[in-house]
């Protein structure tokens, strides 16, 4: 590297430190916001440092491009409702990955145009950067589509799917190796790009909506790896550090999530969640269920001693968290103990429920993780399930044929009474029927979660 600019090098070193500290500080709610600030400073220093480098000689277009990017990014973050955070992350991710891929492409054509001799190592880094960038881009768009329900959330599978995917990947890798070994004809790079883009789409097709959070974490990891590869291609160690830290953290996060669902990585990527479900769903719809009115629910809740609330994605969709806070306050005032049980994969991102309940000012010492609260269900008078489905499905414990068999669940069926607020009997995100709804001790409260909880709050004072 050149000795001409001590300033940008110093900026890069501080930027690298800021990025690392940013992740460290995000590990506790007390320092989390400092973590974000540190991350922002890190990225800002990286940008400013880069602009100061003497290789960079034209600024107008860069600054215009940054203004355009900020102009699109800011409204995106502010206009999306809080419930759409997973989609937004996926979408934002698609842009980041596209950037990495385009940089790889631009470098390739710069080397081609200037006739610079390229070592096999640099070309290898460039190939990895490009393939990861493009496939992460289209995969993120697909993940966005599935979460936003533009693309069907059900796994799409066909015979020989894995073979087709592997063959495609093999061809892409083959083209990549060819580019590393010797200069290739002009069609090779575009073909390589096309295959990478296509592979990203095919990778997500067989993955069901329920696994999307894991996939987003994994894609995060790929984007990090693409940045690290870019760092090798451009001999830029800031990119290597930030990219590698990112790749590692995304990877470990998806491993943590897989563990929470008791699934292996290979299972998430190739397993195609829920092929068995159709048979289950048909058999189930004819069974009788017990339903109840808001008055009944208020009666039971008002006379309970201990209530455990289990929120799920349905609560997020209905924006019921504020009404739920009112209900919690009203019950607490009556001397009812209210706790919240948060399944590790409730909602569509880990921690999704925590964010929404925090938004509604529910103190986080009332929120409990699965391992901590599961023993308490046996002594709870009421388990109130709001828009959660798969994470409370007892089939995960005993039905070997169920696609979610083996996933740890919240033991709501152990509670004295189970109340489930749900729009209809339609199966949940993973598309599996839930035997919990047909138990004798279960009351189904049909309706919109927000208005139903609101009505319970209204009825509560009438309860003696």
């Amino acid at each position: 590297m050149s000795e001409a600019g001590g300033v940008w090098q110093a900026a890069y070193i501080v930027a690298a430190l800021s990025v690392v500290l940013s992740l460290k500080w995000l590990s506790s709610p007390v320092t989390a916001r400092r973590g974000v600030l540190s991350g922002e400073i890190g990225l800002l220093l990286a940008v400013v440092g880069t602009l100061l480098r003497h290789e960079v000689i034209s600024y107008e277009w860069i600054l215009i491009s940054m203004a355009v990017g900020a102009g699109i990014g800011a409204p995106l973050a502010y206009l999306m409702p809080m419930t759409a955070v997973p989609q937004l992350t996926a979408l934002s991710h698609a842009f980041g990955a596209l950037a990495a891929a385009l940089v790889g492409t631009a470098e390739y054509y710069r080397y081609a145009a200037t006739g610079t001799p390229v070592t096999g190592f640099t070309m290898g880094a460039l190939v990895i950067e490009t393939v990861l960038g493009y496939l992460t881009c289209t995969a993120s768009v697909m993940a966005f589509g599935k979460l936003q329900e533009i693309v069907p959330t059900r796994p799409m599978t066909y015979r020989g799917q894995n073979v087709v995917n592997l063959v495609l990947l093999a061809i892409a890798v083959g083209l990549g190796v060819w580019m590393i070994v010797e200069p290739t004809p002009a069609w090779v790079f575009p073909a390589f790009t096309g295959l990478s883009l296509l592979f990203g789409v095919l990778l997500i097709l067989p993955i069901g909506g329920g696994d999307m959070p894991t996939v987003i974490a994994l894609l995060n990891s790929y984007a990090g790896a693409a940045c690290a590869a870019m760092g090798f291609a451009l001999e830029n160690r800031l990119l290597i550090i930030a990219g590698a830290v990112n790749a590692a953290s995304g990877f470990i996060l998806s491993v943590i999530m897989c563990k929470a669902m008791n699934r292996s990585f290979a299972n998430v990527l190739f397993g195609a969640f829920g092929q068995v479900q159709t048979t289950n769903a048909v058999a189930a719809s004819t069974k009788p269920v017990r339903s109840a009115t808001p008055e009944d629910a208020a009666q039971i809740l008002g006379s309970a001693r201990k209530v455990i609330v289990v929120p799920g994605y349905g609560m997020a969709v209905a924006q019921a968290q504020h009404k739920l806070r009112e209900l919690t306050d009203a019950l607490t005032k009556r001397g009812v103990e209210v706790q919240f049980a948060i399944h590790p994969v409730a909602g569509r991102m880990p921690g999704h429920m925590n964010v929404l309940l925090a938004e509604a000012d529910i103190p986080y010492d009332k929120l409990h993780e699965m391992e901590d609260i599961n023993p308490d269900f046996a002594e709870a008078d009421v388990a109130l399930v709001i828009g959660a489905n798969d994470v409370v499905n007892p089939a995960a414990r005993h039905d070997v044929n169920s696609p979610i068999y083996g996933m740890p669940i919240l033991d709501v069926d152990k509670a004295h009474t189970v109340m489930v607020i749900k729009r209809s009997m339609n199966p949940g995100f993973a598309g599996i029927d839930n035997e919990l709804y047909y138990m004798d001790r279960t009351l189904m409260l049909f309706g919109d979660a927000k208005s139903f909880v609101g009505e319970i709050v209204k009825e509560l004072p009438a309860v003696a």
Binding site: S27, S58, V85, V103, E107, L234, A244, V245, M349
Partner: protein, 98 residues
Amino acid sequence: MSNDLEVSLYVLVLAVPLGLELVRRVSPLLHTPLMSLTNAISAISVVGAILIAGAGDSPELSKVLGCIAVVSSTINIVSGFLITDRMLKMFRKKEPAK
């Protein structure tokens, strides 16, 4: 192997376990903000984008691609950080109440 490359490889092998350790300790409460934060940080690719877009010896095609890359990585940075901040504001809001 050149000296530069050797140093880069050292950096890589140290950064990977660092990333693993940093995240292993994050409480599940913060997994969603963590995801969007790492999402924003992965847009560090903006560095490469600026280098390509601003370099004097880049052909037109590379410059155009570089500028598009600057636009999209900036979208990622801005939306990633803003959404993380929006989420964390909610966590902080009730600390005085506790």
